[in-house]
Symmetry: D3
Subunit: 123 residues, 6 copies
Amino acid sequence: MSAAVEEFNAYREKMNSRILEDNNKIIKRIFNLDTNAYMKGALDVKTKELLGLVASAVLRCDDCVKYHLETCYKEGFLKEEVVEALSIATLIGGTIVIPHLRRAYEFWDELEQSSSKDTVLKE
Amino acid sequence: MSAAVEEFNAYREKMNSRILEDNNKIIKRIFNLDTNAYMKGALDVKTKELLGLVASAVLRCDDCVKYHLETCYKEGFLKEEVVEALSIATLIGGTIVIPHLRRAYEFWDELEQSSSKDTVLKE
Amino acid sequence: MSAAVEEFNAYREKMNSRILEDNNKIIKRIFNLDTNAYMKGALDVKTKELLGLVASAVLRCDDCVKYHLETCYKEGFLKEEVVEALSIATLIGGTIVIPHLRRAYEFWDELEQSSSKDTVLKE
Amino acid sequence: MSAAVEEFNAYREKMNSRILEDNNKIIKRIFNLDTNAYMKGALDVKTKELLGLVASAVLRCDDCVKYHLETCYKEGFLKEEVVEALSIATLIGGTIVIPHLRRAYEFWDELEQSSSKDTVLKE
Amino acid sequence: MSAAVEEFNAYREKMNSRILEDNNKIIKRIFNLDTNAYMKGALDVKTKELLGLVASAVLRCDDCVKYHLETCYKEGFLKEEVVEALSIATLIGGTIVIPHLRRAYEFWDELEQSSSKDTVLKE
Amino acid sequence: MSAAVEEFNAYREKMNSRILEDNNKIIKRIFNLDTNAYMKGALDVKTKELLGLVASAVLRCDDCVKYHLETCYKEGFLKEEVVEALSIATLIGGTIVIPHLRRAYEFWDELEQSSSKDTVLKE
């Protein structure tokens, strides 16, 4: 994995653990919902991840965008599909979304590089 | 069509005409993009409409939600699919999305009633 | 109760029922959390209601503001306490909060009039 | 004046009086700043009003937009200048600004009609 | 004090000085209001700080959250009280608040460590 | 140029190139509009840049603020004019704009230092 992806995931997991060990019921349930909401239901998992990505982008939450980019990547989305989703987010959310689009592109590149590096390492 | 749906569409069309007859280039092109962005590309039309719906819901724009509910309805989405998309929007956007969820439900009911009425009238 | 307060509550309850009868698990749990989060815990109920009011005000959600104004009213808050909370919301959220402040004041007046009318009717 | 403009101003003034008679110091000072900030300084009054309009539009506050449209109108802005400012707001804020643009256009029309009616009445 | 807390405060103070030495009247008065609004009034200081924290959290302003966490810490709030306030913010503001919750937890840890270190140093 | 300004511009240009080489039509057109919208029209270029700055500030987009600060600087705005525009943004957007105001001040200082350094080097 690329250093940037690893660092993002490590911080996320470390702090999520800190939060959850506190046992605040409301927060724990929201975290729990956050897992359940993206499971297969009337809509399939891929569609839901894309919805999560676009909602995160228009709300301009870089960490949320990164998280959903990573799950979209794992779900096998092509870059052009992800970019098309982000283009809709940029149109709806306006040019203030562009700085987040730049960081999203950078993170996607990291995800692709991680993956090709992983492939090389495994061989 | 139900009175509420008709009124919404009539106002929307009347004012869009007023805006476009003004010939402001930037606005005209944004309106143009707003049509093109939802056309079939790497993603299909249905997925794109759902992305538009969820982005509108988390940004809490009632008119945008109504517009995308109507196109989702025309694209043949089942209510439970639309509700699942809106449930993700409510989780991501928080309980402040709930008042918009209430109005979205009301408008979807109007769309369903319009449609059944239309069917009756056509027979 | 004043007509405005009654109408607000009636619509809210009617649409909440419509939403909940749909049995979307995520939405039902969010509604459930929305009740639990304001119950006595480390913080008392009054403080929590005031937090809900201020969060609603800075996010400029009129319906959420009305809902929390009503619960604040029932919890026995004095008007000057509520106004002081709203003054902090206006400072943090800026002058774009002012139109929502106007509607909050109007709704509080309705709540006070409802109550005095109720008192008169009961006598 | 058109009924819509009059109603908007009357409600605004009535509720502002209600708010100010309460003597909350923070709110009173914010209202006071709201007057002073748009007075001539390093920037002229017209530029400041246009800044207020665009900020209100991207934050999607209809009442704030109406207020600044009215002051822009009184300051003698041409419609195409106001529309150009709103086009920048729509580009920066995205297509979710469009419903607010429709209502802004409608209000500007009311302002123009009010004015021509006033002219006729004065003659 | 921990390095992170110190750095945050140092930057904040340095830039606030830069801003205030410029003598822009509107900005100076807003800064002044920002001090006065949290002083004891109809509501006590602790409640007001908690309102500031929750408003900052739902508006997803990391620096504002840090500032109010520090004042809450100094006012003697227990962690579970602060977490309960943040749980309401996360419910109202949705899962996009979670990345800010992670950073809030990290900063609170810094505040607690600073304090225990200070105690050790003073002995 | 100062290191901070250079780094900001370099990243911006690098990632914009990455985005544009992808040939997503919607995004390319939005980028194109983003150039055209600030050209001379009914309003002059300087006014438009100031509108872009204030819209970016109330939407709390640091990168957008930096970009418009740089163009405002190049257009010859005096610091007190820019500060006055930002004071209106802070009033409209509230105290949550203040952390962005601090970073805006810091970036403006960088722009001024860059410029004086450039002058020295050219001599």
